[in-house]
Symmetry: D3
């Protein structure tokens, strides 16, 4: 059995807030360093980031070795890859652009074993990585101990959010504020921090809570992240690897350049 | 023209039993060694194993260099990859979770040229690897000299097996006993060697034979493999790379440790 | 904003003829060298060539560094990958086997932002590579400055070509002569240079021009390429990396062998 | 401080016999599986195996994740790589073809910090992997908790073995029976199991023991391995990945083929 | 000719202070991002970092694409690799553990063409990357437009620093404070920021300036970096990729956790 | 035993002229295509090209699969890599910058087994690739069936050429005209086709022939290649992958552009 105390699923279901770094640069070295630097989870992005199946497959053990929870976002509609990444040891899968109950059900069918879904059997690697010795134990625990988040980031999804969160086997929803902003403005604006998006996020979090499901969100600013937590999101992406690098450079290189400039005056 | 005497298709159609190793560890070195150690074929698993397109693309010539037949299993529903792997020189493709006649027909459409299907033209690499110099020769022989297996591993598939094996262009079926076990027990058990699964396997083999199609199966124990052969399966997966490593370690390390323990007494 | 003067879209829309090399060998070194040797564009082929997402992701900056336009062909129906490659900086995507208006619309939905489509937001890498600093600028310009070509290479597509070229958001069509030849002969022949295919190509070019859309084509001989230009194609693939290597070897090794043979006489 | 109870050095110095698998196939998947299948240590061979720096760098964490001890053999005379691999987290380095006291001293200079040698400081990765938080702690413990084996496999080395084992900072010697056989026969024979080699091995083990140093050896047969243990070798390579694969195939495929042949009679 | 205005050599020789990031994580994505985030140069570390020849070869164009200067540190004594990396387009090479005039001369022999050294001809890739079209132009400019730094980080080197900086063809020296600290304390301490090391650094900078050579240094703290600039160092490594990640995580994740903790009170 | 009729050594020793392509772009796809396009041998360049050990290790079987002879040039003085590449299946090694009898002898010591040298035993991969089943057979044949070329490309080497070619175990010499040109002009010119270099080449070829050794050369023009053959060189590098690409583009793209330009007039 996947050791419940250790799983991301268990921690989130116990109400813990988990902050994830968002990994877009291919490779497994930086994901591991993000854990060593303090992150509990790293989300490997195959949709908009540079990751592919192979780099996610290799980053998962790198994250686990440092004690972090490996999560992956798959490309739009690529549910077969969701299955493969659970087999590869991911603890949670984020599926983008879930626009309807039908989408949610199809996603579930790929990530949950019968009778909840039709996930196909082949978790040998996940069992190794998570210390599960017996097939039967994995079969009995995997649906509960791995998580599928469906992304709510379009107008139809927002309208159907109560039905989507009610889909059996869908563990949670995850808000994509940039796409939501574009969708709600009919392509006019990318303002993930705008009022309309924030209101939608709040509504999504409430829908999830009411349905007993998890709620996650991608945040673009510290304020958004703090606000998200207050809205009830407990799986919070703050922030991306590129933003962390920029912040790190600001915190180290900038003071040197400033000191140098002062001397030169 | 693909040299018939050399192809996996030709050997299977002549009634020969072919045993394949099942490769789940990414990389092309071990697949090649499996051929050098005696296997006639190696199946590179993209569904539950660690392979992706690139590792399969590279393992195919590695297997051919050692004189083996390269086979690949694609992810669920990923028929575009089936086409790409035929272009890359695979001799057979195994498609998991074929649940209906419609699934089988869609799979066929990707792996057979018109008029049987709509496989798109672009076999330059396969022609190089198999020594086919002329496009016309490849076009005329490819459908016959490459094989598509549809996996029968769900309840609906089992019920429709007679119709599925009858689908034109589908070369054979391949039994997935673990998924079948889970499906037949409605998610209660993973017992690929159980009676119910064995009965289903026998029925599938018979359906294939009656339709003049090939029958393959994944085996988890030596007994299952021997039994499968008696049931009429001629493309037999026995066993996986991980199982081979464990057996190899048992056969080499264990006697040393035992000898050492005896001395210490 | 993507700098219009520099984009492939801008050049093609201005009526310029662009010749692309066709890259089938995985890796980014040869694509870059093809630009250094004179090509304006290189098309990285994931359908029939050896490229996968990772090799395309890495070849795009390699092509840009040398001043070329990176283009990619995705596998059949793999529109999610089309989105990912735009995010990775590709300037144009070629989608094979577009057989109907519905196919074309689905393709468009993945490569154009709302309201034209539902492309999901995440172009950080493309913005870096193309020097676009502001999200809003990218959102406003991306649909115009990146190109989606749908391939016309089946009988139904040919019959529906006027409707397909009229699909909003589809920037152009691209002719696949080999598949067309096979389709038009019902699987009997692969003669991409044959009369029937040439007539079809001419008809497709005319349909595109009448609809104000771009027209591209894959050419197998110099004569075909010259003829294609006269038919009105402005995005012309001539020729593949393998053909370039063979031509290069003919131009260098052959004269040496000939000179050597003459001496030996 | 590197946790002594966990290190290979500590276990060997406590008199424990450690059996290592010998990894020659590039990649990190099989090394990890060898640990999961029972090995305590895996030696990654850069001299005669297919490993290079990058594959060793990546296999080290893969071995550690499964609870094994990572060891590496460097190419002849490539002591700079020995340093790099200690920085990368290897617990022991085997240096081939140590032919003299001077060779041994040069090797030591690269793997031990001042004053024992001149190993250059930069163990950030090793500290991460082995859980050492403070630089000072690593500096104080690293020389003791990592191991350098010099290979004795030439005639001059054999003659100087007593002086070589006495070199300060050299932790042990490792016998290469194949090279020894060729050397002792002046190139006439490769008989690693022959009497002459076995006598030499015994003499080397004794010299090491008398000097308080560790003794390791590469074994080609079970009998050689058992004999080596009796001679006093405690770091025993038995057996290579290729031999394990062959044994594994013999143990799994062969019985099937035999059963099949019996049926056919 | 390598365009002088653009080269790192030219900028340093004009007295400009250049700050380099220090790259230890293999891969080319983060090095490129470090330039996009503000660094003028990135040093790819093959001695203690995870880079090997291939990752440096690939990171060089990645750095150039973003407008940065690629620098590499080679393993101890691996001067052949120094030549290869100049051929691959590196603008400067840092050679560790230069302990004597003889070491410095040997290093020079690999990085400067005749008559200054015996660097072997083969800069085709560097010419491509730096826009040098003619061989003769490269031959005439390369020695001046690429830089070799010898590291001063041992007691003998410190004692011979005046002679080392005087070696013809050596462009500069680079201080390794950690190794210097260990060396000067005879292995007792790793205190790169200690007084003794700082005094030695000052002395080295002065020796370089007096000889008309460049001076670089690795800095572990902002104070050290500021102090180094005042001592006259103009090529300053501040700071490593891992430190940048940690700083970035501190600047982004920590405030969120703090805000969350405050709310919880 | 390595099958003599098939080896490069055997063909060269029988007096056959072998033309090799020179591979500088990393990867194994283009080396294989060069063989398919007509080359008998491909030389993988680790000195000035982008190859490293791993890319050579992987390109060797790719070349063999297409029926070509794999050759490698190692970095300056990196004889340990020469051994590793023979183990990896290379049929010939070219060592650059052999400047003296001592250099030649050291090179020989790494590539020939006792008593000719001290090459260390470990050819399992080479045996697989070349079909040698028995260790004893490989030991008895390897020195004869693999080739080491020492490059003559400096003034001291040219002066000592008669002594160098006389070194036992050195199979041949290989002329580097670019370095020779720079050396003979004391760094003033890179004119590999100049008179002085041609005279030196002729002298080197004669010295080799008189000593019963092989002679190879790198050629930059067709005329040089034809002349080299007349001088007695039988292992001729003509031409590099980049030059082949440029020639191929000239032969395919240029005529199209010309035809297009004519139409436009
Ligand atoms: Mg989104
Ligand atoms: Mg299955
Ligand atoms: Mg097509
Ligand atoms: Mg040895
Ligand atoms: Mg140092
Ligand atoms: Mg040279």
């Amino acid at each position: 059995m996947i050791e419940p105390a250790m799983t991301l699923a268990n921690r989130l279901r116990a109400g813990e807030t988990i902050v994830t770094a968002w990994s877009t640069l291919p490779g497994s070295a930086m994901p591991q360093e993000l854990v060593r630097a303090g992150y509990q989870a790293v989300t490997l992005d195959m949709q908009h980031g540079g990751h592919d199946y192979a780099s996610v497959r290799d980053a998962i053990p790198a994250i686990l070795l440092a004690g972090g929870h490996p999560v992956a976002r798959v490309p739009v509609g690529d549910f077969a890859t969701a299955s493969r990444l659970l087999d590869a040891g991911a603890e949670a899968i984020i599926a983008p652009m879930i626009g309807s109950v039908a989408d949610a059900r199809e996603f579930v069918s790929y990530i949950k074993f019968p009778p909840a879904g039709t996930r196909s059997w082949g978790p040998a690697r996940a069992m190794e990585l998570h210390g599960v010795a017996e097939s039967q134990a994995y079969l009995m625990s995997a649906d509960a101990e791995t998580i599928g988040f469906g992304m709510i980031e379009t107008r139809p999804a927002l309208e159907a959010v109560d039905e989507i969160v009610a889909v059996d086997g869908l563990d949670g929803v995850f808000v994509g504020p940039a796409d939501l902003s574009i969708a709600l403005s009919d392509g006019a604006r990318c303002e993930p921090g705008g009022r309309e998006v924030q209101d939608a996020a709040r509504r999504i979090a409430r829908a999830a809570r009411d349905a007993g499901k998890l709620a996650g969100i991608y945040c673009n600013t510290l304020d958004d992240a703090v606000a998200a937590r207050e809205m009830g999101f407990t799986f919070i992406s703050w922030t991306s690897d590129k933003a962390i690098i920029r912040s790190g450079v600001s915190a180290t290189l900038a003071p040197f350049l400033e000191a140098a400039a002062n001397k030169d005056r």
